[in-house]
Symmetry: C2
Subunit: 414 residues, 2 copies
């Protein structure tokens, strides 16, 4: 028998683009003794979570609930419930997670059309709209905040264009939900997938999604009730049934809706975590929370620049919660990251594909996005770079960040 000790982890300062530090109130919520899934005390918590999720998504959609899995489970649930074999799916790609959408859509039998731009850029919305007119896809799938490049794609014109061209608009807002505006209704997005482990500061393991009537109609046409619990009225032949049982939104609706038809066993403790996470978001206030993310971002950026480093994503379309720093010539980026981790207990990220070895990515998301963390990561990065023989002007970074912090008369509540 292999026996191990109880969990005894080091306490890290997590400044990656996710997973980030979990709010201590969320950690406490998870230690609540569980309830049965059909206990009225539990279904009430499910309903409350749906209601709060609607506010976080800024939507009046009936359907707003989590998929029990990590963020990409939410992407797959929406894509596999919507995409039928041979459907045309247009995917504009500006980083790694666009490729993930391609990967999932392709496995679900889609005819994929992609347009790509260089990593670090985003698309003019008009370019995407023109491509939609040309391709006439059934679905547009697009990333809102691309953590691999630190860029954010404007969507406010794309949603309405999709409506006009009768294209379903599916948006990966895993990185942005709870950290910056994701205006589901105003932008006319048909389905949006959020993530827990980023700006919501809830552990990975659930994927909150929302979708509107247009998506529900597509899903309803493919609906099958599970054998073993179906009634005769439920039995019918279905064209293009959804290929997954676990991710079948039509079944999940019956579980989250008033029919409460048994599907999976809801992940109780993660539901507690998500409920507490979105409660904290609404308690802080969406506007206030987004402003907090921008404020700490500014302190970080000023500090990084004062150190003499360059940003990779110093652009109008910068993702506010991910700051990408160019690795100075001749510096081993991984060695810097390892020293940050081993000497300071700070985690920052590298990147993928064409940006691997070129940039560091510093996340300022949710509970990790607070003053002490920004100041500590700047101090540590300066010290580690000096240790790597990089000529940085010692002391400037913290002074620049403090200037930002002191520019507000109030002490910022972290």
């Amino acid at each position: 028998m292999s026996m191990f000790h109880e969990i005894n982890t080091p306490l890290r300062t997590i400044m990656t683009p996710g997973p980030v530090e979990v709010d201590p109130r969320v950690l406490r919520a998870m230690s609540t003794p569980i309830l049965g899934q059909f206990d009225p005390a539990f279904t009430q918590l499910m309903n409350e979570t749906m209601e709060m999720l609607r506010d976080v998504f800024q939507t009046k959609n009936q359907w707003a609930f989590p998929i029990d899995g990590t963020s990409r489970s939410g992407l797959e649930a929406v894509l596999c419930s919507v995409i039928k074999q041979g459907d045309k799916v247009l995917i504009p790609i500006y980083g790694r997670f666009g490729h993930l959408l391609t990967e999932i859509a392709e496995r679900n039998g889609a005819e994929i059309h992609i347009i790509e731009c260089e990593w670090g850029e985003v698309f003019e919305q008009e370019v995407i709209i023109e491509e939609m007119k040309r391709v006439q896809p059934d679905v547009l799938a697009i990333v809102h905040g691309e953590t691999s490049t630190g860029c954010m794609q404007p969507l406010d014109q794309i949603g309405p264009a999709c409506r006009e061209l009768d294209v379903l608009c599916i948006v990966d807002a895993v990185a942005t939900i709870g950290g910056t505006d994701v205006k589901v209704d105003e932008w006319q997005l048909d389905a949006v997938i959020g993530g827990t482990q980023k700006c919501l500061s809830v552990p990975s393991g659930m994927a909150p999604i929302t979708y509107n009537d247009r998506v529900e109609q597509v899903v309803a046409a493919r609906k099958k009730v599970e054998r073993g619990i179906s009634t005769e009225a439920d039995q019918k032949d279905v064209l293009n049934p959804i290929r997954s049982n676990y991710f079948d939104l039509s079944q999940l609706q019956d579980y989250w809706g008033p029919r409460r038809l048994n599907h999976h066993t809801e992940a109780t403790s993660m539901l507690y975590a998500l409920r507490e996470g979105v409660r904290i978001v609404l308690q802080e206030g969406l506007e206030e929370r987004f402003a907090r993310h921008r404020f700490h971002e500014k302190a970080l950026i000023e500090g990084v620049k004062a150190m003499g480093l360059e940003l990779f994503n110093d652009v109008p379309w910068k993702l506010p919660m991910v700051t990408c720093v160019k690795i100075p010539d001749g510096v081993d980026g991984e060695s810097v990251r390892m020293m940050l981790l081993h000497q300071f207990g700070i985690e920052i990220a590298s990147s993928f594909g064409p940006l691997h070895g070129k940039i560091w990515r510093i996340g300022t998301m949710g509970y990790s996005c607070r003053k002490e963390n920004i100041l500590f990561v700047l101090a540590a990065l300066e010290a580690v770079l000096l240790r790597h023989q990089v000529k940085v002007q010692a002391g400037n970074a913290l002074q620049a960040a403090l200037n930002v912090y002191e520019s507000k008369n109030i002490v910022v509540k972290s």
Copy 2:
């Protein structure tokens, strides 16, 4: 904005066939601050969890790790990674969860062959083996412990027969893992899926699985590395690629194995919970734990019988951790369940399909399987039945259960 109070749940005595009460040590483990997914401190916890899972599954398989989702996510991950379009899959059905296997296999393009027996029965192993010879399936998918009927299917002859007939043997051990023997290697089972929210007393939200080289070969032939992180060497045309990205075992192996290729973001807190849960199982000892389940089962059964009630599953193939009680004629089973919940805070279960309204199901799983709970549920059931004008001999149930408990000279450590 919809604002709600902090979580403030009633404390229940959960005596269903899952989800059951979570061990308090597991609840505490979940409140541990998280680590990044590639933090060496975290990957070590992942490796330790794999090692302990192997012991719980009684296997030397290299692969033993959780799928990040509820139990049925584990079923779907294995089935969709193994089943190719048109594969013949034989599914013996003796309750609801056999139908679920059919549902998942069918959606993955399988040609389904089923044999059924009445709910409450199991199959003679020879019957299944003969059917395999006739059908010559690629895969046999079967439930080990059927919670809907409280029956357990013997598998010790089926595994070796599958090996001989070159059939992959996939077993749903969601209800049995950690509560009774699941001898993966000795019974020659090729892939086995366990559940967390039953005998492991971990919340729902992860599905530990294990599989051997025979399964790995099938999966490897369908392997595709994800776009956006693949190298040129990874790019090749694949016949019959796996239809899901989230459930692609070939990608999950690369994530859980030494290559540590990014896939999802591991559900950190659930991994802490699972690690603590399997640690507790091994600390207790498999044999001791299985004996404890049988011992409390005996006390419950004696108590139920002494009350004058009949068991539905008083058979040699009874599932030790689920006791099914026939609802006496003229009694509204749901009214009894509701009174147990509202007056005593005790949850027991009804059943599905042909057994709905016919039986109650009382679970004795994991942390819920302890003396206080058994005695409380017997006392409460007696009182509630008296309240429903059922002529039970007051007091007998607890005396019978106490006889069992006193038959051991030692006080049973619950």
